[in-house]
């Protein structure tokens, strides 16, 4: 089993690349979540209905752009290395996060917001105590989606010197070394599945109980 041998012999390298991959993922995800949620909050403020709808259309359409295109464009204008990789990861994952957060917040039933306003909630209170908690399932869906996308795109970003497990895959493809290819593919797939499973748990935990309740 040359595949297993490869793992055992190159254990260090594989581990280092996995860690690198994970850092790229986490940094990009956190920045994308912060920026994305802030953008969505701004886009969904009262009286800005039109802007919210436009943003949903744009991000909806943008989801059809392949990740490699964003990486390529960033490469052209920024160059190679970890920084351009992270930039392209953030740009690309902003799309599902903003799409989901914006549509999630806009889909909170109007009568609930009306009741809150009539009862004397301030705009901020309505946002944080009503809109966001109710929109959490949709927002979390966007975050989960973004995570899977980031891990996958990080693999491709190695082509512009981003590092990570994609290096193994590209080496495997270029130099015809299936063991390296397998190692890279396997580890990145495993990471993606584990992260997604964890996020599914998180989603379940932070979804307000009342939304899951049924008679």
């Amino acid at each position: 089993m040359t595949f297993l041998n490869y793992f055992l012999e190159n254990y260090n390298k594989i581990f280092r690349l996995s860690l690198q991959h994970f850092w790229l993922f986490i940094i990009s995800l956190i920045i994308a979540i912060i920026v994305g949620v802030i953008l969505s909050i701004i886009a969904t403020e009262e009286g800005r209905e039109k802007i919210g709808k436009v943003i949903i259309s744009i991000t909806g359409a943008a989801q059809a752009v392949p990740s490699i295109a964003v990486i390529a464009l960033v490469f052209i204008y920024v160059g190679i290395g970890a920084a351009p990789a992270i930039i392209s990861l953030i740009i690309y994952s902003l799309v599902p996060i903003v799409f989901n957060a914006t549509s999630g917040i806009l889909s909170v039933p109007k009568n609930i917001i009306e009741a809150g306003k009539g009862m004397g909630f301030t705009c901020n209170q309505i946002l944080w105590k009503i809109k966001i908690p109710i929109a959490i399932p949709v927002i979390m869906g966007g975050i989960r989606s973004a995570s899977t996308i980031i891990i996958g795109t990080t693999v491709v970003a190695s082509v512009i010197g981003g590092g990570g497990l994609g290096d193994l895959i590209f080496i495997g493809l270029k130099l015809n070394k299936p063991e390296a290819l397998f190692a890279g593919a396997f580890c990145s797939a495993l990471m993606a599945i584990i992260v997604d499973t964890i996020l599914a748990r998180v989603e379940k935990t932070i979804t307000p109980k009342g939304l899951k309740a049924r008679k």
Binding site: N111, G118, M119, G120, G210, A213
Partner: protein, 362 residues
Amino acid sequence: MIELINVTKRFGEKVAVNNLSLNIEKGKLTMLIGPSGCGKTTTMRMINRLTPYNKGDIKLNGVSINKIDPVKLRRSIGYVIQEIGLFPHFTVYDNIATVPRLLKWDEKKIRKRVEELLDIVTLDFNFAYKYPLQLSGGERQRVGLARSLGADPEVLLMDEPFGAIDPINRLRLQDSFLEIQEEIKKTIVFVTHDINEAIKLGDKIVIIKDGNLVQYDDAAEILANPANKFVENLLGQDRSIKALSLKKTKDFILKNNLITVSNEETEKEIIKKLQEKKAKIAFVLDKYHKLIGRYWLEKSKKNEQVEINFDDSPIFTERNNTLNETLSTMLESGEKLLPVVNRKKIFMGTIKLNDIFEEVNK
């Protein structure tokens, strides 16, 4: 208490409320009624500044509401809308505690208040930890009402709160609501499009058409003297029968000459009691005085012997049912005598068909 002075509201070209002047009295249930689009909801929403007015002024206790911070104003006024808008992610307890928490009451006080309010709307305390999605329509309505009373506001604004309920439950809710208002005596502005509801519930009725005030008076006065053809049409052709609904069952309750027994007594004892008093019907009450059953004597067809029968869910009427609602119940059930209960099912007395007929004849 609430004065509307020459209030006008325009949406673009359309005038929704036209120079409306109105004085809403403290402690009274004032109904705003009119056809769809007449401006009644807009008028109500101007009171808590959800809709700003273009001209004129609205004063609460002598102070113009434009001078009060809108958020503070809304926290001092209860607000109930048709869809209620309960927060699905809050428990019933948290929903009711919303305004008290906004006002930073301490948790002990809030707990007491939630218990009080759940009791007033006749919901058992274990509802407190349920979620809105687990409740039926009627239960949601009651939580909505409790929520609006959370911080004990002086004023309640209600926009067709019973509109989305089925007719049977709506009647029950209306009766409970009337009883609650007897206890809490709030100043209520209630929007409805149902004239029967307006007559049954309202101390005062405001009739609005195309943004203009058409008539503002007691229900009895409007029924007796409608201001114009429009009001006549609104009231409908059966005005005299509608006038019956101005009278409530509670004013015709008989408390003497009736037999009540507890659920401890045996049938023998009950038969003896009935025969002593020469009566045919006895109502069974539990230790809280709640109505739980009915015994009646009947001559058996077989052997001319007197038999005693028991019904564990007797037909009843509520004290706030209008006379014609009680009349309907009697006609449907074929009973000439009905027990009267309050919203907590506590026995109040009985009412006789003959007494209703006498009232109609007057």
